[in-house]
């Protein structure tokens, strides 16, 4: 269990974050410059927060009220740096063994060998970092961090320097890591898809603040504000007014499009009739319907962007105020083959997949 609640001020930037990890993998997601790496450095003891508390498995690493700040050396935190930071003058085996102390040579050798097996580094023992590919360097860096048996493993953008093939492979390995490493893992990334695949919980960062910290499914299905929704690729926003609340359904009037949308909202305690809200619809949930009905919009197809597995379609609606509103959808390729530009289609926005964002 790692608990973090820290503040750190530097000119032009204010870090103020709170989150915790309990034996799982937490993804810290946010744009560059939002304080993700700084948080990791504070946990590892490489930077000193101005105030707050960092607690790892009931051991206090940092506590400003008690004037406690353990040195990086004593924290048992494994850090995998973005550029791996391997020791260029040491071989693979020496890199991995660097942090092992207080044990017999034979024991060191056996533990290094175990890590070499687990991280698939057989045959590379005597290579120097410059003789390794980026993926191999990455695996050495993880093995080196695990060698000290850390209680938390920090991965700082571990896949950012890799091409997509190697990246897939390493993602799988990091996923498998959890089978033999039972400590806490924090993964810093700016790639939502990557964080979603690997982590169970997400902390969304925005200029030094955690704007949402929750299970990953929850972050995707109910983002707390527009920023989070945008980071999680919820691309269709509409401004509306709550028209009616009944049972677990809320009707939202979107005046600009002249439509009354039904939304399934199990928790509408904070909502009031006539309240102005923003609603968001994730593009992958929008479907083509056969005819008019509740939550169905008629709209001409404006443009199509073809990806490898999916097709993104942009539908253009005329708004009441005379502007244009573009609705993004993602269809599986098989469903989208027959669509043609300019033609009008009925689009169904499923009530259970519309999110009401209060701000």
């Amino acid at each position: 269990m790692l608990e973090v609640n820290i503040k750190r001020k530097v000119p032009g930037f204010n870090l103020d974050v709170t989150f915790s990890v309990d034996g799982e993998m937490l993804g810290i997601l946010g744009p560059s410059g939002s304080g993700k790496t700084m948080t990791l450095q504070c946990i590892a003891g490489l930077l000193r927060p101005d105030q707050g508390l960092i607690k790892l498995n009931n051991k206090v690493l940092f506590d400003s009220s008690e004037q406690v700040s353990l040195q990086a050396q004593a924290r048992k935190v494994g850090f995998v740096f973005q550029n791996y930071a391997l020791f260029p003058h040491l071989s693979t085996i020496e890199n991995i063994a660097y942090g092992m102390r207080n044990c017999q040579r034979q024991e060191i050798f056996e533990r290094v060998q175990t890590l070499i097996d687990k991280m698939k580094l057989e045959g590379l023992q005597n290579r120097y970092p410059r003789q390794l590919s980026a993926g191999q360097q990455q695996r050495v860096a993880i093995a080196r961090a695990l060698a000290t048996e850390p209680e938390v493993l920090l991965l700082d953008e571990p896949f950012s320097a890799l091409d997509s093939m190697v990246k897939k492979q390493l993602e799988l390995e990091v996923m498998k890591l959890q089978q033999f490493y039972s400590g806490n893992i924090i993964l810093v990334t700016h790639d939502l898809a990557e964080a979603y695949r690997l982590c169970s919980a997400l902390a969304i960062y925005e200029s030094g603040k955690v704007v949402q910290f929750d299970q990953k499914q929850k972050v995707i299905s109910s983002p707390v504000n527009k920023q989070v929704a945008r980071i999680t690729r919820c691309t269709n926003f509409m401004d509306g007014i709550i028209a009616e609340i009944r049972d677990s359904s809320v009707w939202v009037m979107v005046p600009d499009l002249g439509i009354n949308l039904k939304v399934v909202a199990n928790d509408h305690r904070n909502m009031l009739v006539n309240q102005a809200v923003t609603i968001g619809v994730r593009p992958e949930y929008i479907r083509i319907a056969q005819g008019p009905g509740q939550n169905i919009l008629l709209s001409p197809l404006d443009s199509v962007v073809e990806s490898i597995a999916t097709i993104n379609c942009y539908f253009c609606l005329d708004t009441v105020s005379g502007g244009r509103y573009y609705l993004e959808t993602i269809f599986p390729k098989s469903d989208a083959q027959l669509l043609s530009n300019g033609q009008k289609y009925y689009l169904y926005l499923p009530p259970e997949h519309i999110t009401i964002i209060s701000d």
Binding site: Q41, A44, G45, L46, Q71, A72, Q73, A74, R75, V77, G78, F79, F81, Q82, N83, A85, L86, F87, P88, H89, L90, S91, T92, I93, E94, A97, Y98, G99, R101, F109, E122, G123, L124, Q125, N126, R127, Q131, S133, R144, A145, A147, T148
Partner: protein, 243 residues
């Protein structure tokens, strides 16, 4: 012949001791200033480099004022029966002060070139500051450290102005090669001057060759990393190449 060799012997003793002292002091000061982030950083940095920009005679005069009979350090030492001025240690002190900035600046530059993430990685792996310096920073900054040492060696070999001010010219005691050359010319003894000049030329070329040899990054790094690990795991991974 013996008196011809005396300046060489004095110079060698002075230069070797000076290089050793500046090696330790320069690394310590460079390490300390790179990790220090107080308000006085620029001031201290400037003070360390000052002897390089001042005329050697001015530095010599400063040292004379410090170590002289009425100077603060001189007064401290005189009850112990020690006088620095016009003694052999004075050649070491003046050469050290003059050479120190070169070691300090070169080493500091080399330390700054080392990726701080690599040092941080060592810290998170539990390495003490001393171990980080010894096993990571120094090996990675080694070409710069060697260059600084050789510059110090050369600078202290050529040290004249400050030495003359503080140590004077006492034959067989404080007369280093540059001082001896100067006074040989003054006395019209051209053959001794040329003889000493030949020696200096030889040492200068030798130190340049040493610089060229040690500055190759692979040199020190390779030999350092040949630990006993290689013996235990010789069977695998000997093939060279990249993938």
């Amino acid at each position: 012949m013996i008196e011809y060799l005396s300046p060489l012997w004095i110079s060698l003793k002075t230069v070797l001791l000076t290089t050793a002292i500046t090696f330790v002091l320069g690394i310590a000061a460079a390490r300390w200033i790179s990790r220090y982030s107080g308000k006085l950083k620029a001031l201290i940095d400037g003070a360390f480099i000052l002897p390089l920009v001042l005329p050697p005679t001015v530095v010599g005069l400063g040292l004379l004022l410090l170590f002289g009979k009425h100077g603060p350090i001189g007064q401290l030492l005189s009850p112990l029966g020690m006088t620095v001025v016009f003694s052999w240690p004075a050649t070491v002190i003046s050469a050290t002060v003059m050479a120190f900035p070169l070691m300090y600046m070169t080493t500091k530059g080399a330390f700054e070139q080392v990726d701080s993430n690599i040092e941080d990685a060592a810290r998170t792996l539990g390495a003490s500051e001393w171990k980080v310096l010894r096993t990571i920073t120094l090996p990675l900054a080694w070409p710069g450290v060697v260059a600084g040492s050789i510059l110090c060696f050369a600078r202290s070999l050529g040290e004249f102005g400050a030495t003359l001010m503080l140590a004077g010219n006492i034959a067989g005691k404080t007369t280093t090669i540059p001082v001896a050359i100067y006074f040989a010319i003054q006395a019209g003894d051209m053959s001794q001057a040329l003889y000493l000049t030949a020696i200096v030329l030889f040492i200068a070329f030798a130190s340049l060759a040493a610089l060229a040899y040690f500055k190759k990054p692979g040199k020190q790094i390779r030999s350092k990393s040949r630990t006993s690990w290689d013996a235990t795991s010789n069977a695998t991974g000997k093939q060279e190449g990249y993938d």
